[in-house]
Amino acid sequence: MQLGDHAFAHHADDDTRWELPTVFAGHGLALGHKVVILPDPAVEHDDACQRVAGYGGAAEQALVTGQLSFTSMRELIHPDRRFSTARQLDRLREEIERARRQGYGGLRVFVDMAWVQDLDADVEGVMRRETGAGALFARRDYAEVCSYDTRLFTPEVIAAMRAGHPVVLLERPGDLQAYGSAKGWHLIGDADVATRRAFRAMLRSALDAAPGGRALVDLSRLCFLSAGCASDLLRLAGESDCERVVVRCATVQARTLRRLGADRIPGLVLDETAGAR
């Protein structure tokens, strides 16, 4: 997830609820961005801090320096008491400017949408805000995740919100998913020790289904590619009946594949047009 992204996320239980903000905060801190978390207002502040920052690493120090902070929609729009799109967007613009003045590369905000009930906000108005906030992201110095508890919103609202966001996140950090298109197979998420078996199965499907012996495997939306998964990709590409296997990937992924011998696999082409992400 990059600056400029406006993402939908959802959760259906209290364990999943905390995984995404924890990972979101860790990612933002690693990139030198300021991170603000708006947890469910029903959760005590200390509990939310412990859940997100208690894992250790940079988050504890970031809480001290202010690089990571917690607030609520109620605090954000203060002194207003009722939610309005205009007030919220103005306040977020102010926070973006403040983050930039403080020297951060950008601002990342995670919002648990339970605030909608807390402020008794009009769901239709919130939906309009979600679909009409594009200008906030245009300068690519701001990213936002809106996380919906499927126990609090109707399936219709969840479906509309999902459709209204330019980016949709996987339910759990660490998941791996694949989908096919006319161009080839696209993998999304994490290819690591936890998803390696699934990664191999997805690759086999991609290579078996390749039309005319030419396959495209798109890794450009993977957040992580482990050495084990990279090795599996090379082996399966080498064993397949495809005459040509194009692997679309980021530079860092290409580097791993080359270190493991990609140049020795006949018919394998690394397409690095996905760039450095």
Partner: protein
Amino acid sequence: VTGAGVAEVLLDREFTLADVPKLRLVIAGCAAMAGLPADRGGEFVLVAHELIANAIEHGGGTGRVQVLRADGALLCRVCDRGPGFSPDVVPASPPGLAGPDGDEAGCGLVIVGELADRLDIRVNGAGAVVTAALAIAAGAQRHPARR
């Protein structure tokens, strides 16, 4: 591998397979905080993942990971409860591709060996202790350098 300097502990956690995605992000945060540039930070995360994966797959399924800053380097140390292994098993170059069901060819450790400036493999009473170190460039800026 920590030399004579005092190590600053940035992370110290037990882990299982379920912790891997979250740990990677936390370790990336440590690398940024320590001042590794983005590319090198990504390589540090890959090194850490391979050591953690090695402990999960061959070292009893669980382990302990520490990220330390010492002597101008960022260190990742992983302790497991497996039988341990000798540095001789780490191939100097890609040994061929992994077998159908796993990482028999040691490709993870090849990557670790290539990316780390120093690699130390020991066996203690409980299992393997593997430490990889990546140098932090002099004058590197730490996050957060604000306010």
